[in-house]
């Protein structure tokens, strides 16, 4: 009886462990080939310019970053692509500088065919541990089906890991019995 339970545990552990590894590998492949990143930076939520905020991490008033505006397919370095609300974002986009910000002219100004950025992409606040993003993650809309797929993936991964762990304890002979909630008085 105990042997049969252990065998079932081994099978359960291997099957669910394999599925967990397989979906995790798929997850990492999708992450590194850029699919998951493109789900995140999917389309523009407002009119403005798509940018890669990593290119101006050290921008300041004294050392502004000058972004060249153009219809690029992929943002490489100091470039900005004009986008309208709902447009698909070009590759390597990490945020949007919206029109309102440019019109205000406090942090970004439009100079001919360039954008002059005078703030870094992320500021560590003087108080506490908090970080404040300037244009990173701003004005972007995620892919709705990407959200559904991500939640489904996490729930399924949890299921696989949970059943794998259950198989592992059975395999080790630590088969857990149901708790007798009402035995001995309640």
């Amino acid at each position: 009886m105990a042997e049969a339970s252990k065998t079932r545990g081994v099978i359960k552990f291997i099957v669910w462990g394999t599925i967990a590894v397989a979906i995790s590998v798929m997850f990492w492949v999708e992450y590194f080939n850029g699919t998951m990143v493109s789900w995140y930076y999917y389309q523009a939520k407002s009119d403005g310019w798509a940018i890669n905020s990593a290119t101006f991490v050290n921008a300041s008033k004294d050392k502004p970053a000058i972004l060249e505006i153009g219809p690029f397919q992929k943002i490489e370095g100091l470039q900005a692509v004009p986008v309208k609300k709902g447009d698909r974002l070009p590759a390597n986009t990490t945020g949007i500088i919206d029109k309102k910000t440019v019109q205000e002219g406090k942090r970004v100004t439009l100079e001919g065919n360039t954008l002059k950025v005078t703030v870094p992409s992320q500021i560590k606040e003087a108080k506490g541990f908090k970080y404040k993003d300037t244009f990173m993650h701003k004005g972007i809309q995620t892919y709705p089906w990407g959200g559904a797929a991500s939640v489904a993936f996490i729930l399924f991964l949890g299921l696989c890991l949970g059943l794998m762990a259950e198989g592992f304890t059975d395999m080790c002979g630590l088969k857990l019995e149901k708790i007798k909630h009402y035995e001995g008085g309640h």
């Binding site: 995140y40 993936f153 949890g158 309640h186």
Partner: protein, 355 residues
């Protein structure tokens, strides 16, 4: 250090896995998501605040599945109770968020919200502490009289009142051995959901005591059933967070791996203890979380002048994770020693389960 492409920053993998593990252990034991612990930790690791809360919610959904599977094996889930309540909870959370937005529009400050949250947590802490202390005393008395004491003992009389409400339809929850009006369960869901959505405190903190003290479920079943609830509400919350652009899935993956180990230990640890032990740890975690919130409240009331208060609140929250894990491990170790007839402190026998 790992470069998180979506979050746009670097953070140590080890700390993410460790955070997942510790919160998984505490969550698996007391049936809470643990968001109040994870978000400050992620901010300390360098994640922006909005990312921290998004990653937290997504990881809670996955972690709860792991813990729910183990609690199912231990017979701690009442599916009828959980699924009846889940609709009410979702409705309540949505109502809570809408009320929050409405009060914000009216100009009600964050200070008022934080005060309300602190007051609710203190109230729950006091009630749980007093009731659990009385239950422990009762267990000691019964043991002295030579009577056998089971897994659960609660001296609260509130469930008797709520179970006597004969508003149809009446639900029969077989695992929890409850015969109760469906409306009582739905209203518990709505009320706990509203509080969770409005005050931003974790639903589990309120739902577990509500299931014990209002519905009359045993603590173990309340924990397991609450985790089932968190799978549904956490999944919904995770979807909303993803749509708002607050989630880096890789950080979630690392935390889930850690949570797998922690949630296993936390869930299995419930089989070593009696109900009052879980309620004690739940009340202590309430107290510690309240202290963190209280420090933040003073920080805000003093117009953010005293930075050390904010720092202390974060340190307190992180220290709490470690303290609760050590407490759970201590209980398990003493339970095993007690089963083998070895010496244990005097307060242990009434809290641990005898085989």
């Amino acid at each position: 250090m790992f470069e998180f492409i979506i979050a746009g920053m670097q953070a140590p993998i080890f700390l993410l896995v460790l955070t997942g593990m510790t919160v998984g252990m505490v969550g698996g034991f007391i049936g809470v998501g643990g968001g109040y612990m994870v978000t400050p930790a992620l901010i300390v690791f360098g994640f922006p605040g909005y990312m921290a809360s998004g990653i937290d919610v997504m990881h809670i959904a996955g972690k709860s599945v792991v813990a729910t599977i183990r609690h199912r094996q231990l017979g701690n889930i009442d599916w009828i109770l959980g699924l009846t309540m889940v609709g009410g909870t979702m409705m309540g959370v949505e109502m809570g968020v809408r009320i929050l937005n409405y009060t914000k529009a009216l100009g009600l400050s964050g200070i008022a919200l934080l005060t309300g949250s602190v007051a609710i947590m203190i109230g729950l802490f006091l009630y749980t502490q007093v009731e659990t202390h009385r239950s422990q005393k009762k267990i000691n008395e019964l043991t002295k009289d030579g009577k056998t004491v089971g897994r659960e003992l609660s001296v609260s009389t509130l469930p008797v009142f709520f179970q006597s409400i004969a508003l149809k339809p009446i639900v029969r929850c077989h695992t929890a051995r409850l015969v109760i009006s469906m409306w009582v369960i739905v209203i518990i869901g709505i009320a706990t959901g509203v509080l969770a959505g409005f005050f931003g405190v974790g639903g589990g903190f309120i739902r577990v005591p509500a299931l014990v003290y209002i519905a009359g479920a045993t603590t173990h079943i309340a924990v397991g059933t609450d985790l089932l609830e968190i799978v549904v509400s956490g999944g919904y919350g995770a979807l909303r967070q993803y749509m708002s652009g607050n989630v880096d899935m890789v950080a979630v993956w690392f935390m889930i791996i850690g949570a797998m180990f922690g949630a296993q230990f936390g869930s299995i640890a419930t089989s070593f203890v009696r109900g009052p032990a879980i309620r004690y740890i739940l009340s202590y975690s309430l107290l510690l979380a309240t202290t963190g919130a209280f420090l933040r409240l003073i920080y805000m009331l003093t117009h953010q002048q005293y930075e050390f208060l904010n720092f202390l609140a974060v340190v307190f929250t992180l220290g709490e994770m470690l303290f609760l894990c050590l407490f759970i491990m201590t209980l398990v170790i003493f339970s095993v020693r007690h089963r083998h007839g070895k010496w244990v402190p005097g307060w242990i026998p009434s809290l641990v389960a005898t085989p």
